[in-house]
């Protein structure tokens, strides 16, 4: 499975992202990889640079009414509704499995108030086996008329700054693409004390059943993912790379090693594979092998030197 070429030394794939040392830049995205255990039959989890687990809140969330997903051109829409087991069950029942693996476990989390974000971060900061936190700010704020935190720079700053004070774990903020100017939001997260940024979350969209004139999703609106959104994600990574000095993690429609390399050249220090996991549960390992092959073929000794190497 693993290609060995004795003539050229193996390239150095390690990257340092937000203070987290990753053995390689290939991670799996939150919400597409469960709590890791679902994928264990299909790949060696030890080979992944990192696993970002399904978003966790203080209390369990039951999620939205079905239908929750619909296939679209080159992608899919979902409105799962942040269904999760809650932080207590996660720590007691899901985390022990993940601790067995030599891969960075990054816990995605969210809340509907700044207090809830802080509470979850505080609990996660006190347990072993977590390399870092990824904060989902595409979540409605109950104190601000259910406006998403990530759509306003001031709210992004506030929640990042508050959580920053509650945890010593590396803090990665996952940005929403559903904004006018993502680099302003990115800057607010940087000013608030983030150690890194993941971008992008899904792009809001919808689909209509023309036979019964009803929305395809019970929630009407959902998040678009898959190759359809890759050019948008890539553009945002490049724009943000020019505006902040934080390490970036590229996510959005990555299906192949070529896609991953595009993100790295555009400025991402690492990448996440999301929806592609649904099509091929072992795709992340194939992407990793492909990235390695690319480095060997192009005589790039360290992946570090590829990050942000876009010639314009």
């Amino acid at each position: 499975m693993h290609k060995v070429n004795n003539n050229i030394s193996q390239p150095d794939l390690t990257v340092n992202v937000a203070g987290i040392k990753l053995k390689n830049p290939v991670m799996t995205a939150s919400g597409t990889f469960g709590y890791g255990e679902e994928y264990e039959p299909y790949l060696d989890l030890n080979r992944l640079g990192g696993i970002i687990v399904k978003g966790i809140s203080m209390e369990p969330r039951e999620g939205n009414s079905p239908p929750r997903i619909v296939e679209t051109a080159a992608g899919m829409l979902n409105s799962i509704g942040l269904q999760n087991v809650g932080v207590e069950v996660f720590v007691d029942q899901k985390l022990p499995f993940l601790r067995k693996y030599d891969t960075a476990v990054i816990v995605n989390f969210f809340g509907d108030s700044i207090e809830e974000y802080c509470e979850v971060a505080n609990i996660l900061g006190a347990v072993d086996g977590i390399a870092g936190l990824e904060m989902n700010i595409s979540c409605p704020n109950k104190q601000e008329g259910w406006l998403e935190f990530g759509t306003r720079p001031d709210l992004t700053f506030k929640v990042t700054n508050a959580v920053r004070k509650k945890t010593d774990l590396p803090l990665i903020v996952k940005l929403s693409p559903n904004v006018t100017d993502i680099s302003t939001i990115a800057k607010a997260a940087e000013d608030g004390g983030a150690d890194g940024l993941s971008l992008i979350n899904t792009i809001t969209g919808m689909a209509v059943n023309i036979e019964n004139r009803r929305p395809m999703l019970a929630n009407i609106i959902g998040g678009l993912s898959g190759p359809a959104i890759k050019p948008v994600a890539l553009r945002m990574v490049w724009q943000v790379a020019g505006k902040v000095s934080l390490p970036l993690i590229g996510v959005g429609g990555i299906m192949t090693a070529e896609d991953a390399i595009e993100f790295i050249i555009a400025g991402a220090s690492a990448i996440q594979i999301g929806t592609a996991n649904f099509l091929d549960p072992s795709v992340s390992i194939k992407v990793l092998s492909g990235v390695e092959d690319y480095l060997i073929k192009n005589r790039v000794k360290r992946i570090d030197s590829l990050i942000g190497s876009l010639e314009t």
């Binding site: 919400g31 597409t32 999620g63 079905p66 239908p67 899919m76 979902n78 929806t275 649904f278 091929d280």
Partner: protein, 270 residues
């Protein structure tokens, strides 16, 4: 996993049987499914779930090889493309997945209620029970006589069969659930697979008669392994054994099912 298509034949208008050279390591439960990647590219984007119809064995040279057969109906773009796949082509499949039928303990009578392509999970069951003492009956409904795929296979097994068609072409005229009303008895266990309306009515009849009923559900799914949480189905309130908290009222068709106890399903929201 890439497997070779052994055959892909139209057995009735819009109904196909596809044989796959795929030796499965574990015993397959009736009702389990596989996730089939229709296209090597991204159109259509998601895999499609298909119930496993039966296992097959073929001889190639001196070797005996194992395989599985799926029986599917062409209903849209994905299955339309599948119908065009040829023998020898390699396709990407995952499985076997999900939890199959297991509520029947051999006592009393097992009634399998199938509507159209809903026949799929029952062949493995009927085959497994064919030479046992259990009483097994198949109630098979379709719109017309060409809407009863695999009927011959069950006849060859010697399964007791009762048929209904909407137009009365074969068997009795009317819904298969009318047959169920006649055939169900106090010692019956009912298994059902078919359209949503049929399943609801089967569950209602079973409840009225106080007999156990298990149904196989079909939902759009992305991953097939419990990760995307897309194929949620609402179930009656559950409490955690650990924390006394209310658990999510949703179960996943791919991982917790596709077979569920009918009593568990919140039918009005399905």
């Amino acid at each position: 996993m890439l497997v070779e298509i052994l055959y892909n034949e139209e057995i009735l208008l819009h109904y196909y049987k596809m044989g796959l050279l795929w030796s499965l390591p574990s015993t397959i439960e009736a009702g389990q499914f596989l996730m089939f990647r229709v296209s090597d590219g991204i159109d259509p984007f998601l895999r499609r779930p298909f119930g496993i119809y039966r296992t097959i064995s073929i001889e190639r040279g001196s070797k005996k090889l194992g395989g599985v057969e799926i029986l599917y109906k062409v209903v849209g773009k994905g299955t339309g493309l599948m119908a065009g796949l040829r023998q020898g082509h390699k396709v990407d499949v995952l499985g076997p997945l999900g939890v199959g039928f297991s509520g029947f303990d051999g006592d009393g009578k097992l009634i399998m209620v199938a509507g159209g392509v809903g026949i799929v999970p029952f062949y493995l069951l009927a085959e497994g029970l064919a030479n046992k003492d259990s009483r097994v009956q198949l109630l098979f409904g379709g719109r017309c006589k060409d809407d009863l795929p695999g009927l011959l296979d069950f006849e060859n097994l010697g399964t007791e069969i009762k048929i209904s068609t909407d137009n009365g072409e074969l068997g009795v005229r009317g819904a298969v659930t009318e047959l169920l009303k006649k055939e169900v008895s106090d010692d019956s266990t009912v298994y059902a697979c078919g359209p949503k309306g049929m399943l609801k009515e089967v569950a209602r009849i079973a409840r009225e008669r106080g007999v156990p009923c298990f149904v196989s559900l079909d939902k759009i799914m992305a991953c097939g392994m419990g990760a995307c949480l897309g194929c949620a189905v609402k179930v009656n309130g559950r409490k955690s054994r650990y924390t006394a908290q209310n658990l999510s009222p949703y179960k996943m068709v791919c991982k917790d099912g596709p077979v569920f106890d009918a009593e568990e399903i919140v039918w009005k929201e399905l």
